[in-house]
């Protein structure tokens, strides 16, 4: 590792003491009289906020588990019987496909993100980044059909692929199909998250690099790679969790029950057999497996935290040669083609529908409004949770000694909270339904459930966008705030908000996009009270109205694109 590469991290932790812990305690009435005694830990209000956020998440997940366990405790036979040979094959396949999907999503994303970060100004760049958020908002079946429209037996590329392969193109059913669809979903996500990490590399490092005459290659090795590597475990962990819980894609493109995931087994145990004990056992297995993999990822990724950098609007000083520019352009084009292809197919089939009629339908309008309102509320809650967790994590990190072990709480605010992703929404929905079924009107709770669950599920993504920025801002401001006694609400209003507006609006838009495409939670609560756009889409698909469904998918994508544009605009106001 070169001195330049480590300067940011090491310099940061040496120059800025790791323990400006006692930032917040009530100001003493007058100096020289009562001051906090030594034994009392002055508690940072940020940690309190984080504990509250974690508590809320724990109640959401724990409550669901309690509900299911209470219901299922009488009959554990299903839970025990679940652990048969088939389950182990499923578990193996689940891990295998998730690992491959993660690999194929994350590695190319590293290079696409790097290419994008090296060329901060070219026409269409903003649009590409916005397009990269759209897959998140698409229901899995829409994405699967989009992928098949290209690579399927009857896809646009089938003719070409038949010529290449020499026989009739068999489509991409099986592991390859699962991988293609997962990469379609996750490559753009990973690219965006990596780009955030690269944007946090301080300008100084680039200046230094250019001053030292670093080549693009050296720049990558010494500047970009350390930044990417720091965010790699987090991003890979996120993608892995998304793939491990994949359901519709695995079943539809997998070609048969050979390709099945634990999530399917969980779904089956709740939907068909209603065996809560089994659902809980399988969910715990899923969490344990994920935990094991994430632990390995963390080891690969060096010190994930404490590497906060000054988040200065990046200016690139390394001038790329013509060859490198061409390579970057090719990389971006390739990434774009891969992501935009299925999207284009979705657009084309959407255009075949009667869009004007659809947009004019009262049901569509009200579903769109419902979706937007719910997604907006979920995103708001999500951003609040995220900010609380990011603040608490940073405060805890500052509080512990430089070399000290991370506390359980810090782990929870860090990676721990991400594990909500591997708790299937249907488990949360069913658990709470069981708990609340005798308490008044359960249907009225459906919107509340949708908002909370979506907020919590989007939180790990939002955290990726917010945390680096928060840590960087804290790196600069921590001592000053502590010195001047700026804390609590004042600090949030005067110091954090202006600096974090951009990442927060990115997080907000991400959370909204994710919530827009969600279908999971409503299943048991009854959907009459909450008719969302994706719900309507599936309903039309289920009623032979495939063209309408395609039109709605297009509508959903357009809404998502508009949201991303809005987020960019909101964030730009203060970007310096």
């Amino acid at each position: 590792m070169s001195p330049q590469a480590t300067e940011g991290g090491a310099g940061g932790s040496a120059g800025l003491d790791p323990k400006s812990s006692t930032a917040a305690s009530p100001p003493p009435p007058a100096f020289g009289r009562t001051l906090p005694s030594r034994g009392r830990e002055a508690r940072d209000s940020r940690i309190t906020a984080g504990v509250i956020a974690l508590g809320a998440i724990a109640i959401l997940i724990g409550g669901a588990f309690v509900g299911l366990i209470l219901e299922g405790v009488n009959d554990l036979s299903g839970a025990i019987a679940a652990f048969d040979g088939y389950l182990f094959r499923v578990a193996r396949f689940t891990l295998w496909q998730a690992a491959l999907s993660t690999l194929f999503s994350v590695v190319p994303a590293l290079f696409v993100a790097r290419a994008l970060s090296r060329h901060p100004h070219f026409p269409g760049r903003g649009l590409i980044l916005r397009l990269f958020a759209v897959p998140l908002a698409l229901p899995a079946i829409v994405a699967a059909l989009g992928v098949l429209a290209l690579y399927g037996r009857a896809g646009y590329l089938a003719g070409l692929l038949t010529k290449i392969s020499g026989g009739d193109w068999p489509g991409i059913y099986g592991l390859s199909g699962i991988l293609v669809a997962h990469v379609f979903f996750n490559l753009p996500l990973a690219t965006r998250l990596f780009l955030e990490a690269l944007n946090a590399v301080p300008t100084d490092q680039w200046r230094l690099a250019s001053q030292l005459g670093m080549s693009a290659r050296a720049g990558f090795r010494l500047i970009e790679w350390p930044a990417l590597r720091a965010s790699l475990p987090g991003v890979a962990g996120l993608v892995f969790m998304l793939c491990i819980t994949s359901f519709t894609i695995v079943l539809t493109l997998g070609g048969g029950p050979r390709a099945s995931t634990l999530e399917v087994a969980i779904y089956q145990s709740l939907r068909f057999d209603f065996d809560p004990a089994r659902a809980v056992a399988l969910t715990l297995l899923q969490i344990l497996l994920t935990l094991a993999v994430v632990a390995v990822l963390m080891r690969l990724g060096a010190n994930v935290t404490g590497d906060a950098n000054l988040s200065v609007a990046p200016r690139r000083y390394i001038s790329s040669g013509r060859g490198e520019t061409a390579l970057d352009a090719a990389l971006i084009a390739l990434g774009l083609a891969f992501v935009a292809g299925p999207m284009l197919a979705t657009v084309l089939s959407g255009l075949e529908s009667d869009l004007m009629r659809l947009a004019g339908e009262a049901t569509v309008q009200s579903a769109a409004a419902t979706s937007l309102i719910l997604a907006c509320l979920a995103a708001l809650l999500c951003v609040m949770l995220t900010l609380a967790l990011a603040m608490a994590r940073r405060a805890l990190q500052l509080q512990r000694k430089a070399a000290g072990e991370k506390s359980f709480l810090e782990h929870m605010t860090d990676t721990g909270a991400g594990f909500v992703l591997v708790v299937p929404p249907i488990v949360i929905g069913a658990g709470w339904f069981v708990l609340l079924r005798h308490a008044g009107n359960v249907f009225a709770l459906a919107p509340v459930m949708v908002v909370t669950v979506n907020a919590v599920m989007a939180m790990p993504f939002a955290l990726r966008a917010v945390r680096p920025a928060y840590d960087a801002a804290s790196e600069r401001h921590e001592r000053l705030c502590a010195q001047l006694g700026i804390r609590g609400w004042s600090r949030l209003r005067l110091i954090e908000w202006p600096v974090l507006r951009r990442p927060l609006s990115t997080a907000f838009a991400f959370a909204m996009a994710l919530s827009l495409g969600d279908l999971g939670v409503i299943a048991l609560f009854g959907s009459d009270s909450v008719q969302t756009l994706p719900y309507l889409l599936l309903a039309r698909m289920g009623a032979y109205r495939t063209a309408d469904a395609a039109g709605l998918a297009l509508l959903l994508g357009l809404i998502c694109l508009a949201l991303m544009a809005l987020a960019d605009r909101l964030g730009k106001d203060t970007a310096q």
């Binding site: 120059g15 400006s20 917040a24 100001p27 906090p36 070399a403 010195q483 600096v499």
Partner: protein
């Protein structure tokens, strides 16, 4: 917190304060006189910043006591100590104007009354920043930014001022001006000033007292002029070099923020 402190400074005592940073064990035992300027010098890694951080409250002593004006502040958070501090960099919030940055010294929530605004305007005038109230830090030079920090010190009006190599990145002439500004602020308010510096000429210009640190300990303390005299401590003379013309501090050309 808005009530102005009584004029004059208070003394600072570190009683057998120990602290471990990574592998380095430090132990400070020192008294800083009330109302005086005390320079703190020492080689890189000698513990100057840690010393200051222990006084400011950014580090908490493993054992021993820190007393400011006779009150035990060992465990008090930074903002609860009667201290203003100027850092080498990152003294200002980049997104707030000069006026707001200074105003934070009066109210951490930026709730400013008319009287506060007058004080802020006075402080800005006093530090030569009149007319730049609405500027953002990025529109200021490095020297001006540190002036904003000193204007905030004036508005904050605490009996102790800690300066952590605040002018290290400024040129010699500018640095002299800034040192003079600190001295005149000190003359006016009479607070206790602790000034960490690499530059022997700064310490010399200031006069007052000097603490010399080596390997996490205060190994010499006394009047600055005595340090620079013929009978100054040997370690100190080695540090500044006999000729005293090429101070070691050139090794770090820190960039301006």
């Amino acid at each position: 917190m808005n009530s102005p402190m009584r004029p004059g400074g208070v003394d600072i005592r570190l009683e057998e304060v120990t602290f471990t940073y990574e592998d380095m064990r430090m132990r400070f035992d020192a008294t800083i006189e009330a109302g005086q300027i005390t320079s703190v010098m020492g080689a890189s890694g000698a513990g100057k910043s840690t010393f200051l951080n222990l006084v400011a409250g950014f580090e908490t002593a493993t054992s021993g006591r820190v007393l400011i004006g006779g009150a035990d502040v060992t465990a008090a958070p930074p903002s609860a100590r009667p201290i203003s501090m100027v850092f080498q960099e990152n003294n200002l919030f980049a997104h707030l104007t000069v006026e707001q940055n200074v105003g934070l010294g009066r109210s951490p929530a930026l709730k400013l009354a008319e009287a506060d605004r007058t004080d802020i305007a006075d402080a800005l005038g006093r530090t030569g920043l009149a007319g730049k109230e609405r500027r953002l830090p990025r529109e200021l030079s490095g020297g001006e930014r540190q002036r904003v920090a000193i204007a905030r010190v004036l508005v904050r009006d605490r009996p102790v001022l800690l300066l952590d190599e605040p002018f290290a990145s400024l040129g010699p002439a500018l640095r002299e001006d800034m040192v003079d500004l600190v001295m005149s602020v000190h003359r006016e308010r009479g607070m206790t000033v602790v000034f960490v510096t690499h530059q022997p000429e700064d310490a010399r210009r200031i006069g007052g007292n000097l603490l010399f640190l080596e390997q996490g300990k205060v190994i010499a303390a006394g009047k600055t002029e005595e340090f620079f005299g013929k009978n100054g401590p040997e370690a100190f003379r080695n540090y500044i070099g006999t000729g005293n013309a090429e101070p070691q501090s050139q090794e770090f050309a820190r960039k301006p923020t």
